[in-house]
């Protein structure tokens, strides 16, 4: 146990971030400590009670897709970004990647043009689908490289609408 290397991570979920340390089956999340052990296709996560009455285990289902780890405990679902403390995470939208509509939608307004510098969170396009207005925002700071749509156009999911450098 004493010779087990400790792996350090930075985790963010919703608005919260934590420093995480993993030493074999002992996990430290901020100030909280847990013991994690696999059980079948789930993970048992037991909070360390620090001398008090033993806490009950949470049963976690876990699956990952790229950089995001999905966890379900008692029906609550969390999407967690885990960053290795030693390497920077691959940015969410790699250079040259296009932003696309999540569902068939109509472009109501184009708010950015090629060459424009944009900030993370800035709205680039306004889409309309299923009677809702859907802003497409810049996932990071960058420059608009190209636009592939115009106002009034019906667009399909997955097709790049705007490229960010």
């Amino acid at each position: 146990m004493t010779n087990t290397p400790t792996k350090k991570f930075r985790a963010s979920v919703d608005d919260a971030s934590f420093d995480v340390e993993v030493a074999a089956d002992m996990i430290k999340v901020g100030d909280a400590q847990f013991v994690v052990s696999p059980r079948g296709q789930t993970l048992d996560v037991i909070p360390e009670s620090g001398g008090g009455p033993p806490a009950s285990a949470a049963r976690a289902f876990v699956a990952t897709a790229g950089d995001v780890t999905w966890v379900s405990i008692d029906g609550e679902v969390f999407t967690i970004d885990i960053e290795d403390a030693h390497h920077t995470r691959r940015p969410r939208a790699a250079a040259g990647e296009g932003l696309s509509a999540p569902m068939p939608a109509t472009v109501i307004r184009v708010l950015a043009e090629p060459g424009r510098e944009v900030k993370r969170g800035e709205t680039l396009l306004l889409l309309e689908a299923m009677k809702m207005e859907l802003p497409v925002r810049a996932p990071r700071d960058g420059k608009v490289k190209a636009l592939h749509c115009q106002a009034g156009q019906l667009v399909q999911p997955g097709v790049p609408l705007v490229d960010l450098e």
Partner: protein, 512 residues
């Protein structure tokens, strides 16, 4: 004429449901599907499957000629329309009849009759079925509609005859608001439906939505299979249904059941249908009013099956094949309690925005008294082309409390990863003191929504622990050496696939 081969003109969980009943009855099944559903569970389960078009429903599941073409080529005796899509399309029912194919449902004339709100109302009034007090003015001038409105007690609703989905409707609480309301309702109705015909109904405050299941054969027999309480709704979309209704006494139930049967007879109904009532008050003094009739099998039919002990799809197929109903009214009774929770691919924290994505992990709960009617499997790509219903979780218990406890426990076991669902939201609704007490009406969800989206202050400590436990689990997984066994056991996405930015991450809220 016994049905030997059935075409299912639908998809997802209801197609699976119908195919299951067919397998038990020795009926061959033909599935039709869009290209998006080529790998779906219902396509795999059917004896044969035929692609009928690209993903959009208008080009596939709603394409009558394509569906009838498959029916002819496969020599299907009958078509089951499920719910939604073409289930209440009188033209489709008529086209089936013309093609000599049995339509598992009522005659086209009944569908048409019940499709007009005003027409249905008139028919029910004449049949002696109570309707919401109101007035339908022949004089459609502003003065004429106003005069009619003044004969109805406030609060009232000015409604568009051609209306639907809440459009062309205005609430009036004081007669001084009438002129504005009539003008606005008319303008909206003309714009949305091209028809400005208005009528007036008393507004039933805090109503319960209680519906009765009916089924009629071709030999003149009509029975009801008791009620379903469907008041837990959001924007007219049902979320949780249960039976029996906590608001009904045996005598009220008997009276409503009789009215439901009378309604079905009045329209010359055949096969399965549902009469929707608005219930005002509860217990012996409650008043019920006909709202509308759904001329199809409903999403929530499983709770009736669980409590009455019948198979409604099987009964539908028997009736469609010309057989008499398998039970008399006297032979039907309710036992125990059943609750259905609709599991939707929606994010309650983003105004219930429909979700799309790959089901990285999908594990249904199971155990005594737990039934899941689902249509998706792990690895499926859930799209937004269709209704976001993933599955129906139906729990049965000896008592209402037992059924609720079971539903909560089952939901906690329902693991859905890869896209957001309303599972946690459903748990909070079931845990809400008003739900436990049976103190619900159609305004319940809207009234309590803020507290249902997020954990309550009392639940906050547990929520924080759970959040950290989830992080611990994620970190443990990340720290493990990546082996094939790890990846496949939990349904992980292949590392190379997810390099495209998730478009859903670029969405931050929306404005309705």
């Amino acid at each position: 004429m016994r049905i030997r081969r059935l075409l299912i003109a639908n998809r997802g969980e209801i197609a699976v449901r119908i195919i299951r009943a067919c397998r038990e009855m020795g009926i061959e099944t033909v599935a039709v599907h869009s290209t998006a559903d080529a790998g779906a569970a219902f396509v795999t389960l059917a004896d044969q499957a035929h692609a009928i078009g690209p993903p959009p429903a208008t080009e596939s599941y709603l394409k009558i000629p394509a569906i009838l073409d498959v029916a002819r080529r496969t020599q299907a005796d009958a078509i089951h329309p499920g719910y939604g899509f073409l289930a209440e399309n009188a033209g489709f029912a008529a086209a089936c009849a013309d093609a000599g194919i049995i339509f598992v449902g009522p005659p086209a004339s009944a569908i048409e009759r019940m499709g007009s709100k005003l027409g249905a109302r008139d028919l029910m009034e004449r049949a002696g079925v109570p309707v919401v007090p109101g007035a339908r003015p022949d004089d459609q001038s502003e003065a004429g509609v106003k005069a009619a409105a003044l004969t109805v007690d406030v609060p009232l609703l000015v409604k568009a005859s051609a209306g639907g989905g809440g459009k062309g409707m205005r609430t009036v609480r004081d007669v001084s608001e009438l002129d504005d309301a009539i003008g606005a309702a008319r303008r909206e109705s003309l714009k949305a439906f091209g028809d400005g015909t208005l009528y007036v109904e008393r507004l039933v405050e805090r109503p319960r939505h209680v519906e009765f299941q009916v089924i009629a054969d071709r030999h003149g027999n009509v029975v009801h299979l008791f009620e379903r309480e469907c008041s837990v709704q959001r924007r007219h979309q049902k979320v949780i249904e249960e039976t029996p209704s906590p608001a009904l006494t045996p005598s009220l139930r008997a009276r409503m059941g009789e009215a439901a049967v009378a309604a079905a007879r009045a329209v010359g109904y055949e096969n399965a249908g549902t009469i929707e009532f608005l219930l005002e008050g509860d217990g012996e003094d409650a008043r019920f009013y006909f709202l509308e009739m759904n001329t199809r099998l409903q999403v929530e039919h499983p709770i009736t099956e669980e409590v009455v002990g019948v198979d409604l799809v099987r009964a539908q197929l028997a009736v469609a094949g010309g057989e008499p109903l398998p039970w008399t009214q006297a032979e039907l009774s309710q036992r125990g309690h059943a609750i259905e929770c609709r599991v939707y691919a929606e994010d309650p924290r983003q105004q219930f925005l429909p979700q799309a994505g790959k089901l990285l992990l999908y594990r249904e709960p199971y155990g005594p008294g737990i039934r899941v009617d689902g249509g998706v499997q792990q690895g499926d790509d859930v799209s937004v082309h269709y209704d976001p219903l993933l599955a129906k979780l139906v729990t049965r218990g000896e008592t209402r409390d037992a059924a609720i406890d079971r539903a909560i426990a089952a939901l906690k076991q329902f693991a859905i990863l890869g896209l957001r669902s309303n599972v946690a939201f459903l748990i909070r609704v079931l845990q809400h003191p008003r739900f436990r007490a049976g103190d619900i009406d159609t305004g319940f969800l809207d009234a309590e929504l803020p507290s249902l989206i997020a954990p309550s202050p009392a639940q906050e400590v547990d929520a924080q622990t759970r959040l950290r436990a989830a992080v611990a689990a994620a970190a443990w997984r990340t720290a493990q050496p990546r082996t094939r066994a790890n990846a496949t056991a939990s349904g992980d996405e292949a590392a190379t696939v997810a390099t495209l930015p998730d478009p859903w991450e670029t969405l931050e809220g929306w404005r309705g």
